[in-house]
């Protein structure tokens, strides 16, 4: 009985550890949205050894620049970030991203607010590499006024701010659908099964089968061949959605690759350290147990 109990307790201890960890990565899915999924070919950056595909980041930047940034800002991002190690336009010749001519070129396409130091007037000037991406609208009210009352969220950390991260972005962008019959969608709203929401009040069908998802003010932003990729990749909706999701994943966590590489080294080191300590432990405790 006692041996059995000890085993039970040990198993319970381990189960407690496992359960704590399981609960902590909770199934606290928001509302009743559909579960986001990765594109068929997968994301290169997922998994403990995943890294970003620079070509994909460049394509993703193009989609962001030409489509998303018409309404969304990404103010935590600086132009120099684009040219830093691991970034879309990193070039080994220019270790300092501020010297990267391509990054300089991108920055100069944007106007940022400044003060004329001679007159004190508010002016705008072309951005430099050290500037942050400018705000799209002066303030929240201006943003809402231009977007039918809805506020386009800043995209700097959007993949960390949504359950599912890049998968959510990809699924949302490719997931727009006609609303199911019986769902009232207001003017200027669009149904998307991946959007978090509660549709019960807009649903006139069977109350047990309220459709998953929610409505959002953003119209489906992508359609085939909306942008022209510089590398000749065919710009299908799926391709663009995957590319921009990868870009936003990078933008939200630009040090992810370095983090994982460091992690592998740290774990190998700790493993060896643990082995040595265990050997020392055996030697010290020999005959004392």
């Amino acid at each position: 009985m006692s041996a059995f109990m000890t085993k039970t307790l040990k198993a319970l201890g381990l189960a407690a550890v496992a359960a704590t960890l399981a609960v902590s990565a909770p199934a606290m899915a928001s509302g009743g949205a559909a579960h986001p999924h990765a594109p068929k070919e997968g994301f290169s950056f997922e998994g403990p050894f995943g890294t970003f595909d620079q070509g994909q980041l460049q394509r993703g930047y193009k989609v962001f620049r030409e489509v998303c940034s018409n309404c969304h800002s990404a103010t935590l991002l600086s132009f120099r970030n684009l040219g830093q190690k691991g970034g879309p336009f990193y070039d080994e010749k220019y270790k300092n991203p501020n010297d990267n001519p391509y990054v300089k070129q991108i920055a100069s396409e944007f106007e940022v607010p400044d003060i004329d130091t001679d007159t004190g007037d508010a002016i705008t000037r072309p951005a430099s590499t050290s500037d942050h991406f400018p705000k799209k609208f002066a303030n929240e009210y201006a943003a809402r006024a231009s977007n039918g009352g809805a506020l386009p969220p800043d995209l700097s950390v959007i993949t960390k701010a949504r359950h599912g991260g890049a998968r959510y972005i990809y699924s949302l962008l490719t997931g727009f659908k006609n609303p199911p019959k019986g769902l009232h969608v207001a003017e200027g709203q669009h149904y998307n099964p991946y959007m978090a929401g509660a549709l019960a009040t807009q649903w006139s069908g069977d109350p047990h089968h309220v459709p998953v998802g929610g409505v959002l003010a953003m119209a489906p932003p992508l359609k085939d061949d909306l942008v022209t990729y510089d590398d000749g990749t065919k710009a299908t909706t799926h391709q663009m959605a995957a590319d921009v999701a990868a870009f936003l994943e990078w933008a939200g966590d630009p040090h992810a690759t370095l983090r994982k590489k460091t992690g592998v080294a740290v774990l190998i080191y700790l493993l060896l350290f643990a082995g040595l300590t265990y050997a020392a432990y055996r030697k010290v405790w020999h005959g004392k147990h």
Binding site: V23, G31, L76, K160, A161, H255, T262, L271, F273, Y281
Partner: protein, 429 residues
């Protein structure tokens, strides 16, 4: 720090000189080198050492983060992201600090359950236990205030909910709430003072930890057999025996820690906290960090606002008086065949409460059909939580005192060395 005779002998002239003026080396030697440690301590005992490492990690990374963090409602969120992006190794420091809180709580829960199972709270270790409870309470307060600092959606609305708990106190609750928030809503004054206190409390914790270790060295460590040290045969010197074992435990723990920091740094957090705080919208599914979920579940289990708060704080308060609720003469549950099963259920109940705390109260655990009006029939989370809450309190207030009187304990070994011999015999036989 300990009541065993000091065996420290200063060797060099400098050591002798210092020993006569401030015997600090003697203190360290007697406490951490020659200190007699029970021979039969198992790996559950390494969590004490693991916890001191956790506290050190949190204090060091915290001080570094303060060098870059800005406690202002308009800048806090961006300053944290700046740490993550631009500060050298900022991502590492911040992820270690954020995940470190979870690791700290994980270790403290194991440490507390270990104390509960082996009766480490029983005489003469009541003060040791209470000091531990104070540390736990301070940890909760510190962690809560730290979580507010990034000023994301969960930070803000978490602060609103928790400060409003105080407002539930009849009559004086309102003025105290205003005093605590420094205004009529959670705002800049609240953030500023939480920042100040979040910096202060870890040092208070460190102070109480010193008292905790002092008390430990006065009474001596408990051990799995639950019998006191009788002779030199029962002990080994702390160094190298306990140091090497604790060291191994710490390294294994750091491996778990690293998996989170480097490969899933946001798995223990909530996506909503990467949305800057917005006082006008509460996130659709607001829950505290995982380590507070059991207490949060107890709060929600009670339909009355004030009584809910009382129950939640009561769940912590009852741990303080545990030494006087246990009537058993036997310390370790190894020799308590009935009580150990109630302990097993208690652990499951605590995990269950944590699970319920993360669910919507009206959601169904399972349903056995629907009523005529279309509402599902079955067990919802709020009722499951109520059942679990009932057991939580009954365990301390009814089962502990009652089983202690009724139970027929197994024979307790006469000494630690005898317990070890019995173990050996069992393994061979």
């Amino acid at each position: 720090m300990s009541d065993h005779p000091s065996t420290y002998e200063p060797k060099t002239g400098v050591e002798k000189w210092l020993d006569q003026r401030l015997p600090i080396v003697r203190l360290a030697y007697d406490s951490f080198v020659d200190y007699p440690t029970p021979r039969n301590l198992n790996y559950w005992w390494t969590f004490g050492g693991i916890l001191s490492v956790c506290l050190m990690i949190q204090i060091i990374t915290g001080i570094i983060l303060v060098m870059h963090y800005v406690p202002h409602v308009d800048m806090a969120f961006n300053s944290v992201e700046r740490i993550m992006r631009d500060v050298n190794y900022g991502w590492l420091i911040r992820y270690v600090h954020a995940n470190g809180a979870s690791m700290f709580f994980f270790a403290v829960f194991v440490h507390m359950f270990r104390g509960l199972y082996y009766g480490s709270y029983k005489a003469p270790r009541e003060v040791l236990w209470i000091l531990g409870c104070i540390i736990f309470f301070l940890m909760i307060a510190t962690a809560f205030m730290g979580y507010v600092l990034p000023w994301g959606q969960m930070s803000f609305h978490g602060a609103v909910v928790i400060t409003n708990l105080i407002g539930a106190i009849p009559v004086i609750g309102g003025p105290i709430l205003t005093w605590l928030q420094g205004g009529f809503a959670v705002d800049q004054p609240t953030l500023n003072r939480f920042f100040s206190l979040h910096y202060l409390l870890p040092f208070v914790i460190a102070g109480v930890v010193i008292l905790h270790i002092w008390a430990l060295h006065v009474t001596g460590q408990n051990n799995p057999a639950g019998v006191e040290i009788k002779s030199k045969e029962d002990t080994v010197p702390f160094t190298p025996y306990a140091t090497v074992k604790d060291g191994l435990g710490i390294i294994l723990f750091l491996m778990l820690f690293s998996v989170f920091v480097f490969f899933m740094p946001n798995a223990l957090g909530h996506a909503d906290n990467y949305i800057p705080a917005n006082p006008l919208v509460t996130p659709a599914h607001i829950v505290p960090e995982w380590y507070m979920l059991p207490f949060y579940a107890i709060l929600r289990a009670v339909p009355d606002k004030f009584l809910g708060v009382v129950a939640m704080f009561g769940a912590i308060a009852v741990i303080f008086v545990l030494p006087w609720l246990d009537t058993s003469k036997v310390r370790s549950m190894r020799y308590r065949p009935v009580m150990r099963w109630f302990f097993v259920i208690f652990v499951v109940v605590c995990l269950g409460l944590g699970w319920c705390g993360g669910q919507l109260p009206d959601d169904m655990v399972f349903s056995i059909g629907t009523s005529a009006s279309g509402t599902p029939i079955g067990l919802n989370y709020v009722w499951l939580t109520r059942g679990l809450t009932l057991y939580y309190f009954a365990f301390f207030l009814i089962i502990m005192p009652w089983i202690g009187l009724k139970e027929d304990p197994l024979p307790v070994p006469a000494s630690i060395s005898e317990a070890i011999l019995a173990d050996h015999a069992k393994k061979k036989g």
